[in-house]
């Protein structure tokens, strides 16, 4: 029986995965939001499905990927966006804007109560104040802003995004957009002729000119506001890297292009059907547009369809659950059924790694980039690296430690990544300096692998301390094994950190002419290298033994977290991509916890429970 337990555990885990990731269904009200969500558009320089735009925008404005309405209904991101795009007056009543800062309440003359989320309608009276205060805050350096200034600036930016979203596919007050476009299509030729005639001082039709003028004013505003570029380039098949246009721009160009673009018309029909609450008609027009895109922009469509699948599969979220399971299995294995539970944990860890890897490679495919491009992806990659290190150690030692460390770090890094996603698209485009795949693939990957290894050594050290001080399970042999693992992993970390740092220097030399500039992030990497060198020399010189190694590996956690996050919070230097004051308490807490552990580790070893029993017996 016991022989089958690992396989049963794996099967159950796989089953859990499958049950979690059912493709999205057409809702009870009959709107096919899946097909709508797959449609390709261009936002932030990248072609992506509408679904991604919806999720990212809602995260920026609301802080979550779903919206809970006041009557308790749960709204999916794509459904919320559809309301925003086609039915703005309804969407304006949804409580999307998150306000937490008491001073912002004060600005509005409100008292802070239970309510945290407010609708556009509720905020409308204060738009001018928010804009004025936000502009003031914007002039400050990010580091110097007070919490109030950060909050008001965020609110203003959310409002700007909100208003631009509303005017992306139609003017937010449009009633019958398809007919409006038809009317425009009939007049624009005559109107343009009249305008030319007027310029040259000839005879012209005043009524037609005024109407044309009205339309073009309306669509100029629409073009200026649009957040989403929804019209693919004129030349079919160039969508992935070509110049997309907004609805408004395309309408303005209609006269010179010799007619209204079919995609413009299609979106207008989709919107009208949606507003009339006619699911059958909506679905038909969405299908038509989807078919048109698949025919004219096959590459872009297959890319966005893939991203859509990636969105609802949520591989990192699933992997998080699996890591928890692995950790529980390992803990259980230390108490009973050691061998078979250990094997179960190993199998489930393999499955988790597979899911994690799928997520990582999907992102690489979607972005056409090496794995690490921003802080979010660095967290994902660090987790991935540690899981691989853990698997290798687990293969060698087979005592569950490797798997447990892998599960812990895998889980934590994915939680960190999840919390870093608040700024919107995690697949953003790269600044010009960073636009080189070679260096991203070598320097950045080496550095982050170094981080992985440092954290792994650190977590091994935590295990050593916790097991040694609080349990009796740390005997001579396992202590030695742990110390050997820590040493090996630190050697590995030294290699990668050093190579990564030097490669970074070479990149800097190639790109802006100096090998080393004492930039904050460079210093952070250097600190890791120096610390590794210090540990290794102290050990070779015989100044530290097991316990010293453990304490130093613990401090390695502090240094690595400073290098990874801390320097970004300083807000200086070339690498500071994004200042995060929210993460600061967490970082501080982490550092304090590590220092506390170091303190515990420095308690004389005769007081450790493991060694107490050893000396007594």
């Amino acid at each position: 029986m016991k022989r089958y337990i690992p396989w049963i555990a794996l099967g159950l885990a796989a089953l859990w995965l499958a049950s979690n990731s059912r493709p999205p269904q057409t809702g009870s009200d009959g709107f096919d939001m899946a097909s709508f969500g797959k449609l390709p558009v261009l936002v932030g320089g990248r072609v992506k499905p509408i679904d991604t735009v919806a999720r990212n925008s809602l995260v920026i404005i609301h802080g979550r990927q779903t919206l809970r309405l006041e009557d308790g209904r749960q709204l999916e991101a794509s459904r919320w966006l559809a309301d925003m795009l086609f039915n703005a007056p309804v969407a304006d009543k949804y409580p999307v804007f998150a306000i937490h800062n008491p001073d912002v309440f004060g600005l509005f003359g409100w008292e802070q109560g239970e309510k945290k989320y407010f609708s556009y309608v509720e905020i409308t009276p204060f738009l001018k104040k928010i804009d004025e205060q936000g502009t003031r805050a914007e002039d400050m350096e990010a580091v110097q802003r007070s919490p109030y200034q950060t909050a008001i600036l965020n609110l203003r930016n959310s409002l700007v995004l909100y208003q631009r979203l509303k005017n992306s596919l139609q003017p937010d007050d449009a009633e019958d957009f398809a007919n409006e476009i038809d009317a425009y299509a009939q007049i624009f030729q005559a109107g343009r002729d009249a305008a030319h005639a007027h310029e040259k001082g000839g005879k012209f039709d005043k009524g037609k000119l005024d109407m044309f003028q009205q339309f073009s004013d309306r669509y100029t505003t629409l073009a200026e506001m649009a957040y989403i570029l929804s019209i693919p380039p004129a030349q079919a098949g160039t969508g992935l890297h070509g110049d997309w246009m907004s609805m408004g721009q395309s309408l303005l160009n209609a006269a010179s292009a010799g007619g209204v673009n079919p995609v413009v018309k299609a979106y207008a029909l989709i919107g009208d059907a949606y507003r009339k609450n006619d699911p059958a008609l909506f679905n038909r027009h969405v299908q038509d547009l989807g078919g048109w895109m698949a025919k004219n922009e096959p590459q872009a469509t297959s890319r966005t369809a893939y991203e859509f699948t990636f969105n609802w599969l949520e591989p990192f979220y699933q992997a998080m659950g699996l890591y928890v399971l692995v950790f529980l299995l390992v803990c259980a294995s230390w108490i009973f059924w050691t061998q078979c539970l250990n094997r179960s944990a190993f199998y489930v860890l393999l499955l988790a790694l597979a899911v994690h890897t799928f997520g990582l490679f999907s992102r690489m495919y979607l972005q056409e980039r090496p794995p690490v491009t921003n802080l979010y992806s660095s967290a994902v990659f660090i987790g991935w690296g540690t899981v691989i290190i853990g698997l290798i150690l687990e293969r060698i030692f087979r005592d569950g430690i490797g798997a447990a460390c892998a599960a812990v770090i895998g889980f934590i890094t994915l939680v960190i990544a999840h919390n870093l996603a608040g700024s919107g698209d995690t697949l953003e485009m790269m600044q010009a300096v960073l636009d080189t795949n070679i260096w991203l693939a070598t320097h950045v990957v080496a550095i982050t692998t170094g981080y992985s290894a440092m954290f792994f050594a650190g977590v091994l050290a935590i295990f050593y301390v916790v097991r040694g001080v609080f349990t009796r399970s740390l005997n001579q042999q396992s202590a030695q094994a742990l110390a050997r693992m820590i040493y090996g992993v630190i050697c590995f970390a030294t290699l990668f950190s050093f190579v990564g740092t030097v490669l970074g220097g070479i990149w800097a030399d190639q790109s802006w002419g100096r090998f080393w500039g004492w930039d904050a992030k460079e210093n952070g990497a250097l600190l890791i290298v120096l610390w590794c060198a210090l540990i290794l020399h102290a050990r070779w010189g015989g100044y530290i033994r097991q316990r010293g190694l453990v304490v130093m590996a613990l401090f390695g956690n502090v240094i690595t977290s400073f290098s990874w996050f801390g320097v970004n919070m300083l807000g200086v230097g070339l690498h500071s991509y994004g200042f995060m004051e929210k993460a600061f308490p967490w970082l501080l807490g982490f550092v304090i916890s590590q220092l506390a552990l170091m303190g515990i580790a420095l308690i004389p070893q005769t007081q450790w429970r493991s060694f107490k029993t050893a000396t007594q017996s």
Partner: protein, 379 residues
Amino acid sequence: MKLTIACLAAAIVLVFAGTIAQVHLGIHEVQQLYFQSLFVWWPPNSNGFKIPIYPGGHLIGAVLLANLITAHIRRFQWTWRKFGIQLIHAGLIIMLLGGLLTDLFSVDSYMRLEIGETKNYSEDLRLTELAVIDESDSDLDQVTAIPQARLQRGGTIEHSGLPFRILVRRFYPNSQVGMLSKAGANAQAAATQGVGSRVVVTEARRDTTPNGHDTVSVVIEIEPLPSENEITAGSLGTWLVSDGLGAPQEFFYSGKQWRLELRPVRYYKHYSMTLQKFTHERYPGTEIPKNFASRVTLTDPDHKENRNVLIYMNHPLRYRGETYYQSGFDKSDKATVLEVVHNPGIIAPYAACVIVAAGLLVQFSFHLTSFLRRRKPAS
């Protein structure tokens, strides 16, 4: 070994402190105070009393280097077991030496070109010089340049090419220049001659933000040298020269027209560059820059060079020991800013990197194989 550990620990503290200090001091200042110095002083930036509180980058580096070299010589053993370690440390020695070479001898400057403009010099944006220009020859200007450090020291400056001496009356490391008419009743004019008689200068705090720029101002007095055939007594008056003034100052003396100009230090080349075209690409629908590229014509009469080059992101131009990088742009994409780097120690880090990486690889694979070999009989 103990010394190594002490040095490494000292370096860690220094790097950490130097990183944190960048928040307030700015990166350039920190480099000078912490890393390119023998000691870190307290209080920083004062000319009077100060005490060394911590060894600076150069001291730690030097001790580490000396220690490495002696250890290398004393403990050198030609065995495979030690081969990796020897390689690593040899590489590190090269890297430290290269770093020292770079710190001491590399020159970093900028060349700003508008479209169609030609220049044969680059400028150091952090250092100014006072150029005294004899304009009497219409084809050729005779320039005497006085470096910022000399002006800062104050006193009297004499030069064989100048028929007068220059007295530095006041030096402002950073300043604000305003109109005298708007400055209130008690304000005094900065100088007696030229534009200086109509403006006021006030001292300002040094600007240490990464893109900040100090407005250096100097008040100088021109005094004729006593000569044999011409006896002129007294001074010609004081002039204000400043980054904050749009135009140079001019005066007439001993039959010649002279121009006084405070400008970024110039490094002249034996060749010239002309900007043909500058492009600034953005990702569609965003303001995120995708690429900057400058097409320049390089003209070098000595080497009979006359060709077009494209300098863009991550693709610098290397020419006659100098490297030109696309650094920035100006005037809404009508001008390009190229960074010009002259670094004699350029090869060292590359060589060192390869050697150390090879050493690490040898050493750790050696460890790994012996570790695996030891495990095999155990299992």
